[in-house]
Symmetry: C2
Subunit: 145 residues, 2 copies
DNA sequence: TAAGATTGAGCGATCAATCTTG
DNA sequence: CAAGATTGATCGCTCAATCTTA
């Protein structure tokens, strides 16, 4: 294949791949009865060393804290997480998984890793590493803006 | 660097790169007074061989046609595009650039290609080609879902 | 029936503004 | 004043439903 502007072509290619991943993830998570945001939030809570405040969750997910509020409202209503007052700082809430949230996440993780494997199986181990390296460089370029 | 699950790591890396590109593009387009969606729409119209209906625009941008309606409403209000009845099919509208839309896009394209260069300049020509190839394979994996 | 376009509900994201607490 | 959390406005996206025309 020939490209007259590989620089631009590469950026567009990553762009559309990201967009397609977004669409695919929406469909996938819908098929298992959840959303990407809920799954990511459960993952962040579960795999955190210590308890996280809402703001901290937002920083990990790289979204505004205002975004976390509504998400937690819905998830608290479905019994997946719980807000807990923080002793010593009455402004803050820690976010905790409920037993149900933890149980649900474990089932979801199985399906998740299966589909990740399916998606990535067309690339070799070496190619996985290359992709990690190249996207890291691209992120460095983004940071340079 | 060491990864215990390069397959997953690679997918996550592309994922976050896409998310960061989205954020960066929002900031960039805001700084030049527009949005990613408006820019992409203008680009699609300008670089199309023939006139496009609203549905066709949606397909090119890979978004639902319902999404195009509101976008065109706003852009028509700002005088950038124009809806034109299609002769012979009273259901359809063609989307055309106004002189103002065309003028605006030309200025935006300059800034756009400058920033693309800036972002991608940390990668070599060979790496650009590799990135194109690897993301193509990843998209094939997504299609396999 | 089907295709082009629109509308409305819901989720997700940003930003600005506000309230409470530090 | 600053930081944690919430609210409201706006935009983008999806999906389902509807209207008109083919």
């Amino acid at each position: 294949m020939e490209f007259q502007d590989p620089e631009h072509e590469a950026l567009v290619s990553v762009w559309w791949t990201g967009a397609l991943m977004k669409k695919a993830s929406r469909r996938f998570f819908k098929s298992i009865g959840t959303t990407e945001s809920e799954f990511n939030l459960l993952m962040v809570i579960k795999h955190s060393a210590g308890p996280l405040t809402q703001s901290a969750v937002g920083r990990r997910l790289m979204v505004d804290k205002s975004n976390v509020t509504g998400l937690l409202d819905r998830m608290e209503a479905s019994g997946l997480i719980r807000r807990k007052r923080v002793k010593g700082d009455r402004r803050s809430h820690h976010v905790e998984l409920t037993a149900e949230g933890r149980r649900l996440l474990e089932r979801e993780e199985e399906a998740y890793y299966r589909v990740v494997s399916q998606i990535m199986s067309g690339l070799s181990g070496r190619e996985h590493l290359r992709l990690i390296d190249l996207t890291r460089k691209l992120r460095a370029g983004l940071a340079r803006m």
